[in-house]
Symmetry: C2
């Protein structure tokens, strides 16, 4: 029985580091108790988690590579860490007050004691859905903005191709590219997603990569004059086909390579010589180094949201019980749009 | 018997388009006759070829890819085209006079009638060896300058790695990098070349890639803190190993991939995900689009040459009879330094 002022706290725990495709059974659900009071003098805050974000990078935290993890790995036996939207329940930090809403790094549990508050952002604008801070107004939104505008310097009339285009990032890159006056084509892995790209996000065209035996031929069909900008989310065979179809002075923003994350050895990419013949620039980036651009991004995107010029599709599951399945679904393409876990609505 | 005012003209002819490794027998030596007089009104010039340049890109001209050659393919049955140093013998063009020295696109023969003179550069400075206009003061020199300075923005103290480092371009990149205050390591394919890198070009270190079973381990030995700038000349396995050793915000200038040019299918590169985790920029380029920087390059390099701060090693063969072997030698690593064919000394 919980003591007075303690509550039960359901958690999603990583059992142990994994190799290959993650499975639901790699995670455990447990319940602890937690005191809803921050220790005096700790400068910590205690939050109630509302929405949790499922992001592809989290796969890399499930494997420990000696000194090679580019984001810190999870700790087996402890709750998974990730981005979420939360409400401050108790605070010993001068900058945070009870009742305030924040987004940033939290843990996959009902209540979290956060001692490192420097990467938490306060949510001021509550006209938009709170969950958007896991996507459109969070890391995926900034990722789309940085990867498209900062790295690719798009110009009106250019040809833009986006893989995993209905995902948390891709759907935004496509809409940004349309707003910029580009011709935009996306690839995705189901008819439902392809319809979404064309009918909801306003892509000029879209195709289901699973139905194309020859990706090179598919790209030539949609880009007879070639691709100026490729927003890379998948890697592997798609990248190889894209390289054959880049235009002179093309740019490739390398955001992710989700098709490769669960392979023991990544696939080989054979057509890199095209970087020379087409004088292509290919650049990888991590959004974590671009948070200083968040105010600039909000200045750009908030008016678009309020004028109805940007739409955002989320795929939500309810409850921490369904969180492991939601995370794993990213790698089988189960989610349609940004995958969110609702822990509590308020 | 040649008519009066006609002379014999030895030529190197491509027999037919090839696949795989080129062989000497893919080229023929023939002798025609040529009139040493330009047709009136043709605006052409007639040159005597002195030095011819053997360049790796020429392999791509020996194969016809339907609409896909990034430089025009050779014409079977006609002399090979390439960069050379030549003397004007007769001119119907107002900008050129008999006796002037030029460098630029010519043909592998003793005398060439040049109708397209817009890509010929006059040689004004005869204090330096004439043959340098096939290398240090020609395309390879500008390639090294553009690929290193324009694409990689090097800073003092950065770690620079160069593959095929004793070649026409690599030896210059290494010396430029030392002048800029970088730590410089090169790879090459023989002890002789490695000695040259360390003892003549002033590289901090060098290794023979053929003696390294594990290129990743070799790079870790020379770059325990990683590589900031990679000047890519070879592709394939070396690129894969380099990707594992790049530092955050590293830059890769993709100049060539000579290890791949004779393969039916290029090798797969598996470690491109490192572009993301290390936020690396990788950019291909063709020097042909940077000739506007030639004056800037000469302003930079001429004083260095005259002060003895830049050295340049050439590998010369004498006579067109030896030209096919010299060209093929590029792909087996026979040449030590810039491969030049001497057709005539004046």
């Amino acid at each position: 029985m919980a003591k007075e002022d303690e509550v039960s706290n359901k958690q999603v725990i990583l059992r142990d580091y994994i190799t290959g495709f993650p499975k639901e059974t790699d995670m455990d659900l447990t319940t602890e108790t937690i005191k809803l009071k921050v220790p005096d003098g700790s400068k910590a805050i205690l939050v109630k988690n509302l929405y949790l974000s499922c992001d592809p990078y989290m796969r890399s935290c499930m494997t420990k590579l000696e000194g090679k993890n580019y984001v810190p790995p999870f700790t087996p036996g402890s709750p998974i860490t990730g981005v979420g939207v939360a409400k401050v329940v108790n605070s010993d930090h001068p900058n945070f007050e009870e009742g305030e809403l924040v987004w940033g790094m939290t843990r996959w549990e009902e209540y979290t004691l956060i001692t490192m508050v420097d990467r938490l952002f306060k949510i001021k604008d509550t006209d938009v859905p709170l969950s958007y801070h896991t996507g459109l107004l969070g890391m995926p939104g900034l990722t789309a903005y940085v990867g498209f505008y900062e790295l690719c310097s798009p110009k009106r009339g250019e040809n833009v191709f986006i893989s995993a285009a209905s995902g948390a990032v891709g759907q935004l890159v496509g809409q940004f590219a349309k707003i910029t006056g580009c011709y935009v084509v996306g690839s995705a892995g189901s008819k439902e997603k392809v319809d979404l790209l064309k009918n909801k996000f306003g892509f000029d065209a879209a195709f289901n990569y699973k139905e194309e035996h020859d990706l090179d031929a598919a790209l030539k069909r949609y880009f007879p004059e070639g691709i100026d900008i490729y927003f890379e989310n998948v890697g592997g065979k798609m990248l190889d086909a894209v390289l054959l179809n880049m235009r002179v002075h093309g740019r490739i923003s390398v955001c992710g390579m989700i098709s490769q994350y669960n392979l023991e050895k990544p696939e080989g990419v054979h057509n890199l010589f095209c970087l020379i013949t087409k004088q292509v620039r290919m650049e990888g980036f991590l959004v974590g180094n671009y948070f200083h651009l968040l105010p600039k991004y909000y200045d750009f995107v908030m008016p678009l949201i309020k004028e109805g010029k940007i739409t955002y599709v989320e795929d939500t599951v309810e409850g921490l019980d369904n969180a492991p399945g939601a995370l794993i679904g990213l790698f089988t393409g189960r989610n349609v749009g940004k995958q969110v876990v609702v822990v509590a609505y308020e």
